[in-house]
Subunit: 142 residues, 3 copies
């Protein structure tokens, strides 16, 4: 967690832009939110036009991002809108280079109690154990 | 939103049937629900038998649909059952041509506050701005 | 339901291990939870390193499992932690053979009212009709 799954038409994101996006997203959660960096996974799936329909028509110029948040819940409406806008700005620098590409994202939130890494229950948010995982950038029994 | 992801065994859906399904689904949300047509995305992923297990056995005759709803929440139990039955009937005409194919779908509902398109917050449900997006079949600042 | 989607780096799970995992998972839900065996679907997606980023870096040694539960909800915090630990132990025997592989899973829970199989509403949890579906390992009108 967080898990970003990015479906994109062939040619809409270069290899360099995929690197850039994955790094930007990991930086955000590690440096701003304070999560261990290895929590952040980004999966890219190229989907050809005959498998990617927008409004019922095959599209060769679309990006659809599905974000799953687990370790942190956003409590109220204002904070949720702000978080969405913040994540949108992570994507924007890349997407603005492709003004003809239609792009959309949404965030799903699931229970932190139903989540494990390397067979371990991740430490509580903000705990010393979580900070130790972040510092080592690896899991460890705690 | 809505995002339909359709995992299917090779040969269970022809190219024509994928077109047909994507169009049927977009028609439903645009004409019946009243959403902007471009909100509707349908992704098809062909999954070979050695990656598609039903009941622990590889299957070459299965379709699994994951539907994500964001912009509209279905309030009560009766309405939810009715909505599921309605969406099932969108799939049925195609699936009934393949009576040996096992097919299943479910709908996940996520927060409309955690959702953006082309860097914009989509307009409120039923608002004049949403209707303008629907009429133009495109986003626009509002 | 349950739907397990397993994203894995090339070479991290052999064909035999995919069989083994799919069977272990189906056995658990059928024998321990009591669900019809065919409810259990497991999808494997191999993701190359240039599409699979962990902590912002491409990874060739990662497994990410997304589990969707529909027919059964886990009520309280203790039961949820216990369920997660139980599912982790289904994965562990395979994952422990690959100690250099980073693996993570989470479970999402969605509404059983928004779920259908072969055009039918699945029978209520624990009902005689559900037991009949389990015994036949197939859907039937009820």
């Amino acid at each position: 967690m967080p898990l970003w799954t990015i479906y994109h038409s062939p040619g809409t994101l270069t290899a360099g832009e995929r690197d850039e996006l994955a790094k930007t997203v990991a930086d955000f959660y590690a440096d701003v939110v304070g999560l261990p960096r290895f929590y952040v996974m980004t999966l890219f799936h190229e989907v050809p036009a005959d498998g990617f329909y927008v409004g019922g028509e095959p599209s060769g110029r679309a990006v659809r991002v599905v974000i799953e948040h687990i370790a942190r819940r956003i409590p109220d409406s204002t904070a949720r809108r702000r978080a969405a806008a913040r994540l949108s700005r992570l994507l924007a620098p890349v997407m603005e280079r492709h003004p003809d590409v239609h792009w959309e994202f949404h965030i799903d939130e699931t229970s932190e109690e139903l989540w494990m890494i390397n067979g371990l229950v991740p430490p509580p948010a903000g705990s010393p154990a979580e900070q130790a995982w972040a510092a080592a950038n690896a899991t460890a029994p705690y």
